[in-house]
Structure formats: structure tokens, C-alpha cells
């Protein structure tokens, strides 16, 4: 066995979820504390569609509405590569100091308000300005990207189940794009079934994002509904009640979208549909990236092994981690689902992506490019043993033929 493989194996064992301290604590407390202010990005990014809608109104040039789209796919990936990786991990003492600091939560409440303003103001702008369909499309896609970011913030708050206010804001921000069922499905469904073929929110080797989405969106909704119905039945309630935490955010969405349709007219139908769908698409992309091809093994009793650090793809790039609330430190997130974003850690030698999510999301939309970059990484992760890979059943034979070449220890 080569030295490299041995090193990887050691890393995998050390970075097992059970032992959080295995993460190399490389404290740069000045930087970690400076990041405090950089997390304002979560409020500034939804400010971009607001500002661009204002500029479109002032100048009469509807092309401004494309701004966030261009920032997200054009500027963020470049900044991400330029800024490099965030090597700092907070020490246990710093975690204790920062984890309960309400400041970090208030940023997310602020972001929630910003996202609602962005949606309504953009809706108002596309309905009142005399602009081309191309410009309206830009506004809808920019809102769609903002909606994707809203889902990231909703994900963060939706994990804090014992904090009623955070859960309320989670519902509110997920409702911007009508995806309120997400936090139920994600916590009780995805965190349980992650990196198994049973999980609709885990993508399989050889499965394109376009195929994945057809299983992910309906599968996630079905799972959320089943989990919520079961919870309500345990309480002796019907699933058709206002206690249903899927129905609650759905009512917010339906009310807001109906009002916008009534006040801003029929252009809201394509605008809101594209904005919501493109937000969902960002989440599909994140799910697609986070566990692609990785699979937990079954023990002798047929039970899946615990989710380990090695079962998530990570990216430690600075800018995208700031923008996405360290969602990219994904192994730590699965080990500590309630750990707040400001203290998530990077682990040594966990499965790593070559760039942050903005670039990887764009790449995923070109399946052949995605496969040629990521498939060898998955094969390497499995040490050539395709029995250890979560493969799309439809291409299993073909993938075995092409990649199966287990290393003999």
C-alpha cells in the first residue's frame, strides 16, 4: 500500500464523527472574530436584487436585473479561487465563546427580512417598468439565486429545533420560495438516510443533476409529509391542521404570492414560478454536490454504519463559506447538526471539492464535465472498489466495467 493511501485511511479514522477534537484546531482567533462582520454578506447579497431593481427603475435599463446572476456565477467563483481556503478552526474555548452569541442569529433574522423585501420589490419592479422579457427573466433568475441563499439561511435556523424564534424565522425564510417542508425533511429524513441509496437528497454516482432532481424534489416532499403526518398522529392530531409545520409556511407563501398576483398582475405567474423553481434548483444542486457517490457501508446486521466525516464532500474556500454560512464544512455539519455556522470546523483529509459551491453548482449543470471531474475522485475515495460506491442502478454495470479496480491491501 502506498504511503498516500495509508495517510488517507488514517485521516478517515481520525476524522470520524465521534471525535470532534480530531479536527485540527488551527486557531486564528483574530480572523475568526473578523468573520463576525463578514457574515453580513447574508444580508448584503439579497440587497443586490433590491439595489439592481432600484437602478433599473432609475435608469430605465432592465438589464440591471441580471446583477445577482452575474455576481453569483461570474464573480463569486473567481473571488473564491482568489481568496483561497479558510485554514482557521475555532478551538473548544472559542467555540464556547461564540456558539451562543445571539449576534450571529440576528444576522439571519435580518437576512429573512431582506429576502422578503427583495422578492416583493423585484416583483413590483418587473410589473411596473416597461422592460423586455429578457430583463424580466434576469430579475426572476436573480431572485431565484437569492431564494437559494434564503434556503441556506433557512437550513441553518431550521436545525435549531429547540429555539422557537429561530424555527419561526426558518419557516418565514423558507416560505419566500415556497419550500417550507424542507427543514422537516432535512432534519429527520436526510440526516438519517444520508449517503445511502434510500435518500432522495443524496445523489448517486453516474446520475446527472437532471435525473437527480426528478427523484429529489418529489421524494423530499413525500418524506416530509410522511414524517410530519406521523408526528401529528402521535399527538392525536390530523395532518390537515394548522399544527402541521408544512402547512404553516405554505400558507405564508400562498398568501404572499396571491397578493402579489392581485396587485402586480399576470406577469407574476412566470416571475414567481421561475424565481421559486430556480431557488429549489439551487438546493437540488447543493444536495447533488454534498454526498455525490458516497455511501455508508452496512454492518453484519444489515444496519448502515454511522455517518462519518468521509461521507460528505467539503469545500473550505473562504468566500463561498462566508456566503453560504459554512454549509461547505459539511462533514462537521453532519457530525454536529445543531452546531451554529460560526463555529463549524474543517477536518483534515475529508473528501474535498476543488472549488466552492458556486463553481460546483455551475459545473453540475454540465453532466459530462461533472462526471469527468468528480467520478475519479469518488473512485479514489472508494479505493477502486465500486461495491463501496452509491451507484445509479441504471448505469451500474457500465460503471463497474469502467471503474472497478479494487486495490489489494
Amino acid at each position: 500500500m502506498t504511503g498516500k493511501v495509508e495517510k488517507i485511511k488514517t485521516g478517515i479514522e481520525n476524522a470520524g464523527v465521534a471525535d470532534a477534537t480530531a479536527a485540527v484546531v488551527k486557531e486564528d482567533s483574530a480572523w475568526i472574530k473578523n468573520k463576525r462582520y463578514m457574515y453580513f454578506a447574508s444580508m448584503i447579497l439579497p440587497g443586490i436584487p433590491i439595489l439592481s431593481a432600484f437602478l433599473a427603475g432609475e435608469t430605465g435599463n432592465g438589464l440591471w436585473l441580471w446583477s445577482l446572476f452575474i455576481v453569483f456565477y461570474g464573480i463569486l467563483p473567481v473571488l473564491d479561487q482568489w481568496s483561497g481556503v479558510d485554514a482557521a478552526n475555532p478551538s473548544d474555548e472559542l467555540v464556547e465563546e461564540l456558539k451562543d452569541d445571539r449576534y450571529y442569529v440576528y444576522i439571519l433574522y435580518g437576512a429573512t427580512i431582506m429576502h422578503w423585501i427583495a422578492l416583493v420589490y423585484m416583483a413590483y419592479t418587473v410589473s411596473t417598468l416597461d422592460i423586455s422579457w429578457f430583463s424580466i427573466l434576469g430579475g426572476a433568475l436573480s431572485i431565484g439565486l437569492a431564494n437559494g441563499l434564503a434556503l441556506v439561511a433557512g437550513h441553518e435556523m431550521g436545525h435549531k429545533v429547540n429555539d422557537k424564534v429561530q424555527v419561526f424565522f426558518a419557516k418565514l425564510i423558507l416560505a419566500v420560495s415556497g419550500y417550507g417542508h424542507f427543514f422537516i425533511e432535512h432534519n429527520k429524513g436526510h440526516h438519517k438516510d444520508v449517503a445511502t441509496p434510500e435518500d432522495p437528497a443524496t445523489s448517486a454516482f453516474g446520475e446527472s443533476i437532471y435525473k437527480f432532481v426528478q427523484r429529489e424534489i418529489p421524494g423530499a416532499f413525500r418524506r416530509a409529509w410522511e414524517l410530519e403526518s406521523a408526528r401529528l398522529h402521535r399527538l392525536g392530531k390530523s395532518e390537515w391542521s394548522l399544527s402541521n409545520e408544512i402547512i404553516q409556511p405554505a400558507l405564508i407563501t400562498i398568501t404572499a404570492y396571491t397578493l402579489m398576483l392581485a396587485y402586480f398582475g399576470p406577469v407574476m405567474i412566470p416571475f414567481l414560478a421561475i424565481g421559486a423553481a430556480y431557488g429549489w434548483w439551487q438546493l437540488t444542486g447543493a444536495n447533488y454536490i454534498e454526498h455525490y457517490g458516497l455511501m455508508r457501508e452496512r454492518d453484519a446486521n444489515g444496519r448502515y454504519e454511522r455517518c462519518q466525516a468521509r461521507h460528505s464532500w467539503n469545500s473550505n474556500h473562504k468566500i463561498s463559506n462566508l456566503v453560504l454560512l459554512h454549509l461547505q464544512r459539511h462533514s462537521d455539519h453532519h457530525a454536529h447538526p445543531t452546531r451554529p455556522y460560526q463555529v463549524l470546523r474543517d477536518y483534515p483529509e475529508v473528501p474535498g471539492l476543488p472549488s466552492g459551491y458556486p463553481f460546483m453548482l455551475a459545473l453540475a449543470m454540465f453532466p459530462s464535465a461533472w462526471f469527468s471531474l468528480m467520478n475519479p475522485k469518488v473512485v479514489n475515495w472508494a479505493e477502486g472498489d465500486m461495491n463501496k460506491v452509491n451507484i445509479d442502478p441504471d448505469v451500474k454495470e457500465e460503471m463497474f466495467k469502467r471503474y472497478h479496480n479494487p486495490k489489494v491491501a
Binding site: K188, K192, R306, Q308, H336, P337
Partner: protein
Amino acid sequence: MSVVEYKKYCCVTCDLVYDEELGFPEEGIAPGTLFEDIPDDWTCPECSASKSDFFLVE
């Protein structure tokens, strides 16, 4: 003889309940094991969250 009052702890993420009276025999945790006596590096058998993610159920 004092009667031990067993408690229940719930995983905040996936809702799994640990009942001290029942333990988790298939996990090697005998019935009657107090939650505080479970090793700190033990994780939720369902969602792999850390032990500190369990809260006391009233």
C-alpha cells in the same frame, strides 16, 4: 431500596428517543444505563449527531 427514576432523552435532529430504562442493547448499552454514563463519543444511532445534541424529555 430506592427506586431509580429513569429519564428519556431525545435527539434534537431526528427525534430518536433514548430511554434509560430500555437502554440500547443492540448498541452495547445495557438497559438501565443512565444517559450521563454513556460515553461522550457515542453518537445518535439514527442520524449520527453527537451525544450533546440530545435533550431531556419532560
